[in-house]
């Protein structure tokens, strides 16, 4: 397959910079796959699994927030967090899940606490499910 140039940048630094054949990410509107020679495109990212195929190898990652842009054949993924499946700390995700669960079952929790806990729960679930792909 024709490769294209893919760059993955997060606030923590550059994660990936090189040739890739396919990129699958979850946008706010659902999963999309980007192949070479895609038309210019911008989308906000949701929370979910991302797949990068480069040199015939598939790598899975948990990709949360941020955006995807294709401009002149260059693909740039700027997620808030991006973790390869084999680098996900499952224990931490589990602990975060428990913590969020506790807040959600606490009736005295304020609405902002509940919102934060919901987001945390969602992230933890994504991480856990992606970690099982490695």
């Amino acid at each position: 397959m024709t490769p294209f140039h893919l760059k993955i940048v997060t606030p923590d630094g550059l994660i990936f910079d090189g040739q890739a054949e396919e990129l699958i990410v979850r946008t706010t509107g659902g999963d999309v796959a980007i192949l070479a020679r895609h038309i210019d495109y911008v989308a906000a990212l949701g929370m979910g699994r991302a797949v990068v195929v480069s040199n015939g190898q598939r790598r899975t990652a948990a990709c949360i927030g941020g955006m995807l842009s294709v401009s002149g054949g260059e693909v740039t993924l700027v997620p808030t967090t991006f973790e390869w499946a084999d680098k996900i700390d499952v224990d931490r995700a589990e602990a975060s899940l428990q913590r969020a669960d506790k807040v959600l079952h606490d009736e005295s929790a304020s609405s902002t606490d509940i919102q934060l806990a919901e987001a945390r729960l969602h992230r933890a679930l994504v991480r856990k499910s992606v970690a099982s792909y490695k």
């Binding site: 606030p11 955006m67 808030t80 902002t112 987001a119």
Partner: protein, 283 residues
Amino acid sequence: MAGVSTKEIKTRIRSMESTKQITKAMEMVAASKLRRAQAQVANSRPYFEILYTTIRDITRSNRDFSSPYLKERPVKKVMYLVIAGDRGLAGGYNSNILKLVMSQIQDKDAVVLPIGKKAVDFFKSKNVPILTENYAEAASVGIGDCFSISKQLSKAFLEGEFDEVYVAYTSFVSMLSQQPATMQLLPLKKPEAREEPAAPRRCDTIYEGDSEEVFAAIVPEYLGGILYGALCESRASEQAARRSAMDSATQNADEMIADLSLKFNRARQAAITQEITEIVAGS
């Protein structure tokens, strides 16, 4: 005997030396923390540059673009995010930024969100309404916290709780100079259209959903990014301020030790001379 006894001078020198050791150690710790803070800023910069470019492209490509984030309203209530330190001993770092904020909010109906223990204590004592004290420890605020703060503030802004949001931080000019500054976060300033000649671009970019939807989704991320940048810069400034404060403290200690050593030697010499005189006189 010349004034003070040699023993007394000796204890003073010793205590001065231990103080010097502490200030020297603090200076070195601050220097290494400063390097780390600067590396953090450098790491995260490309991310925000890309977000900024996208925001600029979106606002530029549609003429009649409008978003609640860009709309200016009559200002009734303002929100200040104040980034200060957790600890003192950093020269004027804390007092400069707090003074600046106080002068700006004096005649306004303002709420603050302090980051850092010094800021929390200060606004509490001045009876300024505080939004939340969750971020009392500046050192432990990470990028995730910045994003949740920015989401919370964006939502509050859209709901009309605040009409303007500012962030007060200390900008890192150089190792020797740090300037307190404030920056407007919301409403977003429309990116200048003329900063570079509009590149010959095709206007056929597809936006998932539509461009306004994408815009609304990335604005909180972008603000979180600015916030994180301001936080990192403030942290670098704090360490730089502490480094130079501690550097001059060490120099002062050196000077005082030199002065005291001179006094000590004089006193010792005087004692010896006196003893010799006594012996000579006695024989």
